[in-house]
Amino acid sequence: MGTLVEEIFSRRLGRTVSAGEIVMVDVDAIMSHDNTTPLAIKAFSEIGKPIRDTSKIVIHFDHAYPAPNQLAAENQQKIVRFIQQQGIDNFYHRGVCHQVMIEEGFVRPGGIIIGGDSHTVTYGALGCFSTGLGSSEIGAAWVTGKCWFKVPETILVRLEGTAPAGVYSKDVMLALAGQLGMDGATYKSLEFAGSYIDALPAHARIVFSNMSVELGAKCGLIAPDQTTLDYLATETKAQAPFEQFTAVNPRYERTITIDVSTLQPMVACHPDVDQVKPLTEIAGLTIDQVYLGTCTNARYEDLEIAAGILKGRQVSRFTRTLVTPASQTIYEKAMSAGLIQIFLDAGCTVNAPGCGACIGRHGGILAPGERAFTTMNRNFIGRMGSAEAEIYLGSPAAAAATAIEGRIADPRPYLA
């Protein structure tokens, strides 16, 4: 009974729970990465109790991988020793943690996953409650296998209609961010529904859940349907049978409806995710670096869209264009399909899968006064290096068009 988030917690606890209740639940997976694991190990060691179930622990190297400096290398060395000492099996360095969590089958409808990373909310697109926590709670959950939550109120986001050519789920999500603002959903669950979502492929749905934290949300959920089950069966190692459920007589705090057929390509402008404008309003702004990557928009289909635009063309001479597939699996698929060759022929630099440039660690740091156009989810001051650099967020198609022109460019003329 209730909203999707109430339904997931009710199923887990075997009783009806409602928004506002504090619940203690067993979690299915406890995720962390090279940036958040060191503090989790510290918390775990200080608590001084054993791990409850090592099979629930999943550790990724992605934030500064391969290690760009000695400090990062030493952190990773400590983590590896911990993994070996504790006998933890789930250890990956195959790309951005959230994509790998999905591919490796940890994400299931009705599941509950916590992660030491704010974009852990990503798995909501597949009907899994997932949310980000700090490292101490990750270390604590290694000991307890549990976590407490206040069951959140839900804002229903109804996305209706068909998006025009050149308008992708990223554009729709940015439009919502502009409307709702960066604290528009703080502590809340966002539930995405409507005819646009129903018809949307799973990879494109993931953008909504991934970016729900940019509006402050605790989770961003989409009801699992046949599209979800097909995606899990074909694109992930998750084993059927899967739970299927919908919201039942839900009570929403409020409902926001967007007619996506009226939208155009959107851009989040420096320096906040909710500084959203139609791309045409800022078209022509010179760009020093284009970055096609991250847990938001570097899945195979994103690369395919960008490659479709870049094929037979060259990126602008003074616009460094970085392509970072979200995972090794995506990298391999893109290579087999010839996409990597298209990027190389166009003059792009293809990086190893990971988060590096998105958090200003390595592989694409910005100098003062530089401007980047990226497919990321955040454009905060200093995010990619210099605090005097500017970051603009948009779709993979807009990123490709911008790379060609060296200025923020409308992708639509390239789609004909």
Binding site: I22, V23, M24, N35, T36, P38, L39, K42, A43, E46, I47, G48, K49, H63, A64, N69, L71, A72, N75, G115, G116, D117, S118, T120, G132, L133, G134, S135, S136, E137, G139, A140, V143, T144, K146, W148, K150, M182, D183, T186, Y187, G216, K218, D272, I359, G360, R361, R378, F380, I381, G382, R383, G385, A387
Partner: protein, 165 residues
Amino acid sequence: MSRAWKFGESLNTDEIIPARFNLTIVPQELAQKVFCEVRPDFAPGVQPGDVVVADANFGCGSSREHAPIAIRGAGVKVVIAASFARIFFRNAINIGLPIMECPAAAEGIEDGDEVDVDLTQGKIYNRTRSTEFQAAPLPPFVLKISEAGGIVNFLKTHDVEELTA
């Protein structure tokens, strides 16, 4: 008596401590870089017991616990904000950084004001302007973590189930 350092709305964790400085987990090292880009005078000027005051959605963005650790490492006694982003709220409680949610205080305190707080009563006093504010009380189970000094200390001597018991 404590000096208030005033910040605006939706101050994100990259602004509290940029990711490139998160390779250390030593509080004092993080404290040297806290707010370095939005308020370069903070780290050199902050005194033990000073207070950070901010508008809504303080600490939005990443889950990095380095953010509250950096603030605590700088000797800040309490963060008072109109509201907190949810992961920052949990992180602050979990690592034992006192926080107070109070929109009226966020509005009624200016940078440089002298501020006193009574954490147990949730009282905030602006000595410069002779005003007084009442912060929202923490939920009882959150108070259990807070009173233990954080989740690590709580779990040393308690079972996690006691939180919701």
